[in-house]
């Protein structure tokens, strides 16, 4: 079995986001880039499956759509244990353009299983997984929180309103995963970092794609206002503020 893990290169979750002058993008100067945490969980689960099912997984590849600046993130994935990396040389404009490029890579590489995070921690669109499945006609399950290999394909659990759903899924399949899928993301070992030097990182040119959406303007969320403390014996004031100021009741 071959697994392909799709990786988004995102700003570290503690980054203080600043907008560019035209408010159409985020200032990237000084930003520390990381593997999107949900994609990192997908990669971790792929590694775990490979270890738990000795011999049944031949290769784990990682792919990212981006310019050369995503390569350190891909090499980290190699250091953690992926066998090879692919970069599609395009700065993507929206989820659709990412999905189209990834679909091409899937057609070329023929993985049995495609894993990706439920969303990326930068734009949080949650769009790529379903779009990719639609473009390829693969079985697709979202919000997967448990994944095991079975004789007929995959055994999957996913969170649903009020409970957990268990599914059997044939291969090839595309799964978008969420928290719970794997233990903690792995820290690359020195040996892994050393081996990553000689693992292949292939750069492929993008196919032509017209984005289906356009950034008009980004805005930062309002700054958090100071916490108002209300004495414990003044419930009336609390109710008044919730009603008149916060307007939640």
């Amino acid at each position: 079995m071959k697994i392909l893990v799709c990786i988004s290169n995102v700003p570290d979750t503690t980054t203080r986001i600043k907008l560019s002058g035209d408010k159409k993008s985020v200032e990237t100067n000084g930003v520390q880039w990381i593997i999107n945490p949900w994609d990192e969980l997908a990669l971790t689960r792929a590694m775990e499956l490979s270890e738990q099912n000795a011999g049944s997984i031949q290769a784990i590849s990682v792919v990212s759509v981006g310019d050369a600046s995503v390569e350190p993130t891909l090499r980290k994935a190699l250091a953690v244990g992926a066998n090879e990396a692919i970069r599609v040389n395009l700065v993507p404009a929206d989820s659709y353009s990412v999905a189209v490029q990834l679909a091409e890579v899937v057609k070329q590489e023929n993985p049995d299983l495609v894993l990706l995070g439920i969303e990326s921690s930068d734009f949080n669109s949650s769009g790529v997984g379903a779009m990719l499945a639609e473009l390829l006609g693969f079985a697709s399950v979202s919000s997967v929180s448990s994944l095991e290999l079975s004789s007929s394909g995959l055994t999957i659990k996913r969170e649903v309103e009020g409970g957990t759903e268990q599914l059997e899924c044939p291969l090839p399949a595309i799964l978008s995963v969420q928290k719970g899928i794997a233990l903690e993301p792995r820290i690359p070992a020195m040996r892994g970092i050393m081996m990553a030097r000689s693992k292949p990182l292939k750069v492929v040119e993008p196919v032509a794609v017209e984005p289906l959406s356009e950034w008009i303007e980004l805005e930062l969320p309002e700054a958090k206002s100071a916490c108002k403390m209300i004495p414990e014996d003044n419930a009336k004031e609390l109710i008044r503020l919730l009603h008149e100021e916060a307007k939640v009741i």
Binding site: P72, E184, I187, P188, M190, I193, M194, R197
Partner: protein, 380 residues
């Protein structure tokens, strides 16, 4: 001139940071209080390859350069200098000493388990009456033909109890003074070795520091490092590199204290605003940052010189002395910025301050470093 770290350097720095901020932080205060050896952390760091990161991969090491080592030491030390001293002694004294000066057989037999972290090493130079004056070795290694017979006491030995392999410096020919000294690789569990109680230290409390007593300990001849009489030179050369590790540790203590102080100053309010907005605090942070940056540049330069195969002894002494001294200053200021909170354990900075003190003392006091530096300035 290039101040840019490589992608690989960044990855190693981040790996060390992740481990420190994710794992070491969880029980560092408790281990400090109870003086408990970090067994699980040493195991985990060994599996990640940090215990033998400088060793050539053919001896099961990580094959990383000294810059990588410095970056990792800084990040680990920001959180837990007790763990980083174990890492430093194993990497830059014991593994380095054997790899640089040992025979092929010694490397196969002793270096490989040390590089894998299966065994931890200890470096036994200091004695009750031979600290800074390392030439006055009282521990004797009597030449008995097929073997040496070790007798004497070593003091302040990091990893003294947990180590599996000792590097012991001892006097074979007292009449030749320091030219009669030898270095030996000794099995920690050899007959005749007894280990004293855990020293109850001010800081770095979870690293195990002990006295070690040798009574008629037989050491095979093939365990001597280098020619007869090479021991003092071996110790001095090995300590040159060791200084870079401790300098990086001191740097980590200082930069860790600075990071915590910046965060605290942006959150803590006094007189109606965050204390970072008061010039008294902002200028303290500024002074601390300049010192940390200077120390980092010196430490990285010493590491770079070593990686280039250039002379680095004086620069490593400068790095060690400066980083240790500013670690003391910066951690003390960090406690001051934190006020009362800095004086209690939950905020970490009092521990960093206690730990910083040791960096001015061990692996060559700040005063000894000044001797090394001034001698190199004044030699003809």
């Amino acid at each position: 001139m290039n101040f840019q770290l490589t992608e690989e350097h960044e990855m190693i720095r981040q790996a060390a940071r992740d481990y420190a901020q994710r794992e070491l932080i969880k029980d560092v205060i408790e281990r400090d209080e109870t003086a408990t050896y970090p067994t699980q952390h040493v195991k985990a760091l060994s599996e990640l390859g940090f215990m033998g990161m400088l060793v050539d991969p053919k001896y099961d090491g990580g094959g990383m350069d000294t810059i990588s080592y410095v970056l990792a030491m800084e990040e680990i030390s920001k959180v837990d200098a007790s763990v980083s001293v174990i890492m430093s002694v194993n990497n830059s004294l014991v593994c380095y000493g054997i790899e640089k000066y040992g025979t092929e057989e010694q490397k196969e037999k002793f270096l490989k388990p040390l590089a894998r972290g299966e065994k931890i090493g200890a470096f036994l130079l200091s004695e009750p009456e031979a600290g800074s004056d390392a030439t006055s070795q009282r521990t004797t290694a009597e030449d008995k033909g097929d073997y040496y017979l070790l007798n004497g006491t070593k003091n302040w030995i990091t990893n003294g109890y947990t180590a599996g392999t000792y590097l012991v410096i001892a006097q074979t020919h007292p009449e030749k003074r320091h030219k009669g000294i030898n270095a030996f690789i000794v099995d920690r569990h050899a007959e005749g070795i007894s280990v004293g109680p855990h020293e109850n230290k001010m800081g770095m409390r979870s690293s195990d520091t002990h006295s070690v007593m040798f009574t008629d300990v037989k050491v095979p001849k093939e365990n001597r490092i280098g020619e007869d009489g090479f021991g003092f030179k071996f110790a001095m050369k090995t300590l040159e590199g060791g200084r870079i590790g401790i300098a990086a540790q001191a740097l980590g203590l200082a930069s860790g204290a600075l990071e915590r102080s910046i965060q605290y100053a942006k959150e803590r309010k006094a007189f109606g605003t965050e204390i970072a907005n008061h010039q008294a605090i902002a200028f303290k942070l500024s002074d601390m940052a300049v010192k940390v940056e200077n120390a980092r540049n010196l430490v990285l330069k010493a590491a770079w010189l070593k990686d280039q195969g250039m002379e680095y002894g004086t620069t490593s002494a400068m790095a060690k002395q400066y980083a240790a001294d500013i670690a003391m200053e910066v951690t003390t200021e960090a406690v001051q910025i934190h006020g009362g909170y800095g004086y209690v354990k939950e905020y970490h900075v009092e521990r960093l301050m206690r730990e910083a003190k040791l960096t001015q003392i061990y692996e060559g006091t700040s005063e000894i470093q000044k001797i090394v530096i001034s001698r190199s300035l004044l030699k003809d």
